[in-house]
């Protein structure tokens, strides 16, 4: 057994391209992902953005606006939304807008605030909302004050303290209560992690190429090596098991390298549950291996064709589990869930996702068990195909 194992190992590692695709390629991809996605989560947050205020006569007279905008532009304040530029006239503001120095500017003309922006967008919408809110507060104050004064006049009070009413109302309008409560906050919301999980899935499934090559070395109809081995007086089961073991070992080495790279250099967050992570990677590797053995034995095609099929299946699986666009996984999961229920790449990705995002392990186990079933079915089919294969001549 050890004899077969070492020789299978030697012949596998002699194939340089195999080593590139299973070991180096996922790491190179991880490196690219890191560059492309490192800023996404930060950029997703609403940042302080620059706006300009045209300081004309009307602006200088409008105290409510001045105060409200000032609070929203105050540095180090928690409510800060804007970084403020003040310009003396509209031309200057227009110039800033043209040069994309600001998102938009505010100008008060004929008692009406007006916003000028370059294009539609989220910051522009926020800007509009904020100004609308301030304007709304102003209107409400006026509305409530007139109402109060009318009431008091109806009651026959003649000495109306206008100043007092105005101040009261202003305060009540600007008072901000808390209207919402966060539900058990989850800090694990970095959805770019899915990309790295699909990468692990890809590495697991590329292991199929290893499995297939190992099997091909044993098949009389695939290689001269296979012919030679087939006539040797060694039990076929023994050879298959040792070859598969070799492929599995090679695959696990590749996975360890990939994990090390993503953990230490890219700092991918796999969650804290170490044993489940290892188990999932192992089961994933097993699924990849059985896929390779299955394609290797069941399909009677050239080695190149089989390789092409494996790569295509892997990439398609990764595509459905979100490698080329994270939302794809969600779309498939909700619209055609069956696809990702039988897609090993998605099972692996979803398993890691479950570990990262959910505190319970139920979903994780569903994925692990699915992967085990997937492997058992494929291996059973391969065994049936491999049994009693005999050639009088070839």
């Amino acid at each position: 057994m050890i004899h077969q194992f070492t020789y299978a190992l030697k012949s596998l590692f002699r194939n340089k391209m195999l080593i590139f695709w299973t070991f180096a390629f996922p790491i190179i991809m991880a490196f690219f992902f890191n560059i492309a996605f490192s800023n996404i989560v930060e950029d997703e947050k609403l940042d302080v953005f620059p706006i300009a205020i045209v300081q004309n006569q009307e602006w200088n007279n409008d105290e409510i606006f001045q105060k409200s905008i000032e609070t929203l532009g105050k540095e180090n304040s928690e409510d800060r939304l804007f970084s403020l530029h003040y310009t003396a006239n509209e031309q200057e503001a227009k110039k800033l807008l043209e040069d994309e120095e600001i998102t938009g500017y505010l100008i008060v003309e004929k008692e009406e605030p007006k916003i000028v922006v370059k294009k539609s967008g989220i910051e522009e919408t926020v800007f509009q909302n904020v100004i609308q809110e301030i304007e709304k507060q102003k209107n409400i104050v006026v509305d409530l004050i007139t109402q109060k004064i009318e009431e008091q006049m109806k009651q026959g009070i003649t000495t109306i303290d206008q100043e007092k009413i105005i101040n009261e109302e202003l305060q009540s309008v600007q008072e901000k209560g808390t209207y919402t409560a966060q539900k058990n906050e989850n800090n694990h919301l970095d959805y770019t992690m899915i990309e790295y999980y699909t990468l692990i899935a890809m590495a697991c499934l590329y292991g199929a190429i290893l499995g297939m090559t190992a099997i091909n070395n044993l098949l009389a109809n695939m290689s001269t090596k296979g012919m030679r081995v087939s006539v040797a007086p060694v039990k076929r089961m023994k050879m298959i098991i040792s070859s598969s073991l070799v492929a599995l070992v090679a695959q696990l080495i590749g996975l360890v390298l990939l994990f090390a790279f993503t953990l230490l250099i890219i700092k991918v967050d796999y969650g804290e549950k170490i044993f489940p992570i290892i188990l999932l990677a192992f089961v994933g590797a097993l699924a990849g291996l059985s896929l390779g053995v299955f394609v290797g034995t069941v399909l009677k095609r050239k080695e190149d064709t089989k390789m092409g099929i494996l790569i295509a299946v892997t990439m398609l699986g990764c595509f459905f589990s979100g490698m080329m666009g994270i939302t794809m996984k969600y779309i498939i999961d909700t619209a055609v869930p069956i696809v990702n229920k039988i897609n090993p790449a998605s099972m692996i990705t979803d398993g890691f996702y479950a570990l990262y995002y959910y505190s319970g392990l139920e979903r994780y186990w569903v994925n692990v068990i699915s992967l085990i079933i997937f492997s058992i079915v494929l291996i059973a089919l391969s065994t049936i195909a491999l049994r009693r294969q005999k050639y009088d001549s070839i």
């Binding site: 391209m17 590139f20 390629f25 690219f32 992902f33 560059i35 492309a36 996605f37 490192s38 950029d43 997703e44 947050k45 609403l46 227009k94 807008l97 009406e112 007006k114 916003i115 000028v116 922006v117 370059k118 294009k119 539609s120 989220i122 522009e124 919408t125 926020v126 509009q128 909302n129 904020v130 609308q132 304007e135 709304k136 209107n139 409400i140 509305d143 409530l144 109402q147 009540s172 309008v173 008072e175 209560g177 808390t178 209207y179 919402t180 409560a181 966060q182 539900k183 989850n186 919301l189 959805y191 295509a312 080329m324 994270i326 939302t327 969600y330 909700t334 995002y357 959910y358 979903r363």
Partner: protein, 379 residues
């Protein structure tokens, strides 16, 4: 002619590969088309939210949901814990509001009930939060002034319906341009991958030892042989570019038939030629087909990720953008980005465009010189 024909015979073997990369481009191109903001008027951005109402649909509850339905995209998510959490994680929705039972009555009684929120903290969530707070704060102000319930809802609605003037300076069809931009940025990947892979494979077939020896003893002049080969490569590139252009005309037709579209077409044409020159270089250096496929993948994916053809350029770290000046893809994508922002097309505004084109042409010359030097040395 024999060499030229044979070139395309070999090419046929790789049609699946060409179709696959093109299909990916089309899928992604079409995927970016799902926004509906087409006009030159300002359109508000609506955050994706989900409302779970456990209260009766009347009074403040109704007012709030109505307001949010108007100002946000309400999505229907299966009301199960897991489905909701998934939706939040994958940014299907960014803000989930649960209105608890008896919210309306508690609120009227001044008990200050709270909405239960799940948020993923991105800008859409911030905007949704802003909208929710805005509504509730306004309603609260009226409630504290002892108004009747109907009046509160009515007045709140009135107060929030007042919109201020917003003016947009850009007359560009920003949406169409973004789509065209996305398409051509993504094409950077497809063009590079196909050119390097296919040209590499064909060249490697021609340079198999037996075939090379056979052509060398044939009476055909090496010059003619090279010319036929070169012509094959050029025809392949131009055909590929033409197909991609036609696809773009279907996907983003309102941009492609304008001057902006012409600029996109010119830019992608020059880049295709550049991709061919890279392919030519790699085909001259490498013989092993598997190695060519590895290099094709690394170069095309690398350029795509590093220069911003998959994710928007503004999301890339500045340090990376400085380094990738040495890649032609950078200039191609920068040029696309520039075309997107061209307000009016004049000689002056065209100059930066030509600068970028010039850079790509320099790369082409560079690659051809290196190829030349390499093949001479090899002989």
């Amino acid at each position: 002619m024999i060499v030229f024909n044979y070139f395309f015979k070999i090419l046929k073997q790789y049609k699946v590969m060409i179709i696959l990369y093109t299909a990916i481009l089309v899928i992604f191109g079409a995927f970016s088309l799902n926004t509906n903001d087409t006009g030159t008027d300002f359109t508000i951005t609506k955050p994706d939210i989900c409302i779970i109402n456990q209260d009766k649909d009347s009074g403040i509850t109704q007012g709030l949901t109505q307001y949010l339905t108007e100002n946000a995209n309400r999505k229907d998510i299966k009301q199960e814990e897991e489905a909701l959490s998934d939706a939040l994680f994958y940014r299907e929705v960014s803000y989930i509001i649960t209105i608890p039972e008896n919210y309306q009555t508690d609120w009227l009684a001044g008990k200050e009930p709270k909405l239960i929120i799940q948020s993923n903290g991105n800008y859409e969530a911030s905007l949704a939060e802003m909208l929710t707070n805005n509504y509730l704060q306004t309603a609260d102000t009226y409630r504290k002034n002892n108004l009747e319930e109907d009046q509160i809802i009515e007045k709140t609605k009135q107060a929030l319906d007042q919109k201020i003037n917003i003016e947009m300076t850009s007359n560009l069809n920003n949406n169409g341009l973004s789509q065209a931009n996305f398409y051509f940025n993504f094409a950077n990947y497809s063009i590079l991958a196909i050119c390097i892979f296919v040209v590499g494979m064909v060249m490697s077939s021609f340079r198999k030892e037996m075939i090379k020896k056979r052509t060398m003893v044939s009476p055909m002049k090496p010059k003619n042989y090279n010319r036929a080969n070169f012509l094959g490569i050029i025809v392949l590139g131009v055909a590929l570019w033409a197909v991609y252009l036609v696809i773009s005309m279907i996907l983003v037709k309102d941009v492609m038939f304008t001057l902006h579209g012409l600029y996109y077409a010119i830019n992608s044409f020059i880049f295709t030629i550049c991709a061919l020159s890279i392919a030519f270089l790699i085909g001259s250096i490498l013989q092993n087909k598997e190695a060519i496929s590895g290099v094709a993948n690394v170069i095309s994916l690398g350029s795509a990720f590093l220069c911003g053809s998959f994710v928007p350029v503004e999301w890339l770290p500045d340090s990376i953008l400085t380094i990738v000046h040495i890649l032609p893809s950078y200039w191609y994508i920068q040029n696309n980005e520039y075309i997107k922002t061209m307000e009016e097309i004049t000689w002056e505004s065209t100059q930066p465009f030509l600068m970028n084109i010039g850079m790509i042409i320099l790369f082409i010359i560079g690659f051809l010189l290196v190829t030349n030097w390499f093949s001479k040395r090899k002989k």
